[in-house]
Subunit: 330 residues, 2 copies
DNA sequence: TTGTACGCGTTATCAT
DNA sequence: ATGATAACGCGTACAA
């Protein structure tokens, strides 16, 4: 096994000083063409790689970004984060950043992790997922000037920080429009309790679309915590109405899956549309709204690197459009 | 914002030398009790955290482990890796290691990533998933003395390196035994082509169990690449036999899902059992073999840290037992 | 283009 | 047995 290759090794081989090698790496334009090439050749020949720890000591930057990996909850929605993570890692690599993982069970503990990660590893930035009203994490980071991007809007103030999100309202609007086009007039909603940014957004897409079509959504919505059982319960409630909905739009695939159980025996079939286009949806033929997660991850990296590498201005937020994936159920 | 807290800050505050602080951290037993406490207090009061980059410069160790995150394929099996990753991160944190992610599309490129990660970040170790016969990655790492653990056996030589795995054969044996106990005698198998370690292992559990019960599995197996469509096709083939199987065991939930489509109309119902207990299985009530992924991840960390922190001997491999999760389909 | 100091924790050496 | 001092690892900032 060959000895460790440092900048000194390269410098010796190329017949220049260590500093020149550093210049070739970090400011190639100030090095004479011929020298630059000689140094480059030496780097390639020796297989030199910058020692990030040493670089970090001087620059204070680690070229590391961190993201939280959540425990699989009901399992269905877990794959969303999974796909996002993969995109993040891939795009990050291309931009010269490595992705570090951490876990945390609540916001307070997550902040403690930030503190540790920042202190011990000099993390360059964070990608947060699933923001909500009054998120303590973003304020903690912002106060300390730590670069971060959220996948999810800062619901209280859209200019609070740098973010990427998918337009949930547009997604449920697409779903609702699709059902309207099929002739449905009483379209029900199964979603989450008011107060969560994501939930309210998705619900708004449904109700606004009905309003725009001159229809009244009153009484056609049910709200509950996420879960298959809950989805089924809500769907049964809606179907038991005097004037039951003839189609259902749901805030998640879990809820939609439950709803499907409830409508199984109805005649004619009650279409159901879910949200997230999870593997479960694909497997059972559930029509669902698909988020461009790879894109979202890529834009997160773009924004974060813009903050890190560029001047100190906040890049414009990014709102991506989801698409409706039509399958058996609608 | 307070200044950066280094060992010097702590030393000053505690009225000792930098060296003493270092000793308190790395060799507490050689420091006088009273001094130790005073230094500890200063560390807590100042919120000191060792700068990993500086430590790494001296020790050559980064307290970082790396694992590959794979692109979501058919999406169903993706959640397996997801759960494993979470466990790995969690257990790693507890042991003082951080988890770094990387992507790679094939073994050759993955090796190139090892090289980079080792050269640039001084990675302490790797966790590999999904080993197979003649895996080039393990030999590359072993040749260079890089610590690693695989989640998956080294199929060619069980003593080749340190590994953790789940006993797939025991899982399919459980599934088969369960069906035998329900009175089935012609139990079919839908799996992957011979030659893959994991696939052969799972198939062996099925065929060995039938043999042990004095039954002949000949003609009752179908092999194909993974996927819902393929599962359905194989199931139809099996059901079209003169003496069709009355129950099916599958090598994955994807295959089982396809098989379920094929048996939908059969009377009496043909039980189907999948493998991996994915969220999809839970959602649709598919009986499936569940791998203890959290445990597996934890044991991977245990083994890796044993190699890293302890003397240079290879810890004994770990073979975990899966469990059959009974649901509607069997 | 080059010399030199520097960042921060650890290891080796020396003093008490 | 402790504690203090000096050197070291590697890449970079700044002045020469």
């Amino acid at each position: 096994m060959s000895d460790k290759v440092t900048i000194a090794t390269v410098a010796e081989r190329a017949g220049v000083s260590r500093q020149t090698v550093s210049n070739v790496l970090n400011a190639p334009h100030i090095v004479r063409e011929e020298t630059r090439r000689r140094v480059q050749d030496a780097i390639t020949a020796l297989g030199y790689r910058t020692n990030q720890a040493a670089r970090q000591m001087r620059t204070g930057r680690s070229r590391l970004i961190a993201v939280r990996i959540e425990p699989t909850r009901d399992g269905i929605n877990g794959s969303v984060l999974d796909r996002f993570l993969h995109g993040l890692t891939e795009t990050g690599e291309a931009a010269g950043y490595r992705t570090m993982l951490y876990t945390a069970t609540d916001a307070e503990r997550e902040i403690a992790v930030y503190d540790d990660l920042l202190g011990s590893y000099d993390l360059d930035g964070f990608v947060l997922t699933g923001t909500d009203h009054g998120d303590p994490r973003t304020s903690w980071l912002a106060e300390r000037g730590v670069p971060f991007v959220t996948f999810g809007r800062p619901w209280d103030d859209l200019d609070a920080h740098c973010w990427v999100d998918v337009d949930g309202a547009a997604g449920t609007a697409q779903a609702t429009t699709h059902l309207l086009a099929s002739g449905h007039r009483r379209i029900g909603w199964i979603g989450w309790p008011a107060g969560s940014g994501v939930g309210d957004d998705r619900r708004a897409g449904w109700s606004d679309t009905l309003h725009a079509a001159g229809l009244d959504p009153t009484g056609l919505a049910r709200e509950t915590v996420d879960g298959i059982g809950e989805g089924e319960r809500c769907a049964r409630e809606l179907l038991a109405r005097a004037t039951p909905p003839t189609a259902l739009v749901c805030a998640s695939d879990s809820l939609a899956l439950g709803a499907l159980q409830a409508v199984r025996a109805t005649e004619p079939a009650v279409p159901v549309i879910g949200f997230d286009d999870t593997p479960v949806a694909a497997a059972i033929g559930l029509t669902s709204v698909s988020q461009p997660l790879g894109d979202a991850a890529a834009r997160c990296v773009d924004l974060l690197t813009a903050v890190l590498d560029g001047p100190h201005r906040t890049p414009a937020p990014v709102l991506l459009q989801p698409t409706l994936v039509r399958r058996r159920t609608a």
